[in-house]
Symmetry: C2
Subunit: 191 residues, 2 copies
């Protein structure tokens, strides 16, 4: 097949040029891969920290009850922090492999491994972000039918903080989809 295409493009006489040009594109893809991974690391770490440090104590309290809201009160938020931490760790560990791809753009099986783990991590991150988003929505709106009240009426800054912390995760989700596509694109190129 490779030979056919080279002939089609009329480049059979320029054969020595094909290698460097192709690896130039592969290198650009690998550089983009490292760059996107860095952005995703920033997104997930920002999300984990923003959520993990959320804590609001209301200025009034009775003798028995102190009104305090922490992220760890809701299991979905704990899962959110854990998912972001795991994905962030994975991304940091994947950077060296990604840098190897800049040096060796034609590597294939290591890219395949990255595609698989990127997809698994995308699923984990989406699960965490989406579960947290469902609870944030409930905290804002409440639910009349289930008799769940909107806690954001009391815990105003708590709610702002947990809503904002979702942004980094959702950005990282988009970046991971792009990373999967980039790896697949690098694999689709003829070597």
């Amino acid at each position: 097949m490779t030979k056919d295409v080279v002939v089609e493009h009329g480049e059979s006489s320029k054969a020595p040029l094909v290698g460097p040009v192709a690896s130039g594109v592969g290198r650009a893809v690998s550089v983009a891969d490292v760059f996107l991974r860095f952005l995703a690391i920033i997104g997930t770490i920002a999300s984990a920290i923003a959520m993990g440090t959320t804590n609001e104590t209301l200025p009034f309290f009775t003798q028995f009850i102190q009104f305090e809201a922490k992220y760890s009160d809701l299991p979905s938020f704990t899962f959110f922090v854990a998912a972001n931490a795991v994905v962030c760790t994975y991304l940091v560990l994947s950077i060296p492999l990604s840098i190897v791809h800049i040096i060796r753009p034609s590597a294939r099986y290591s890219r395949l491994i990255l595609v698989f783990f990127d997809a698994a991590m995308l699923t984990l991150l989406t699960a965490g972000a989406s579960a947290a988003a469902a609870i944030v929505y409930l905290a804002h709106k409440g639910n009349v039918r289930a008799n769940w009240f909107a806690i954001c009426q009391q815990f105003d800054s708590f709610c702002e903080r947990i809503s904002g912390s979702l942004i980094g995760s959702f950005a990282a989700m988009v970046l991971l989809i792009m990373l999967i596509f980039l790896s697949a694109f690098a694999l689709a190129r003829r070597h």
Copy 2:
């Protein structure tokens, strides 16, 4: 590169055999792709139907309030049904392209398109399933700190049904990760 490896494997004299053997593996991967898509269609459609038809009316009611629980009372469940329906539709539409890959195992750019949309649909499905799971968890356990009560104590069969409907989606998520990996594997093979 292609030539180097052929020489390394000492198969330069068997060159005519490489084509059919390689396309045999490619064909097997494509058949597995179609099969996994069918399974994922069954999973998503079962989830959407199980959740979409959930409805429980308690046998007692007052003059003013009838105790009824429907999936559409909770926005997360509506999103869950919509996400499953969209992913199911996409999977049905992707089957023809997947069948084309059985006939032409070396197709590359159409596989690339499938990888991208598979990843996007994986994200959508995970978001739906995970948001629904967060609410199902809340319905079972409630949350003392937020004053949200476990509604499953009253709506027993409703809760069983919504819990069960998640299974199909989570199975489809695993299948979609496998589909992305299969496509990447098909792309990683030398053509």
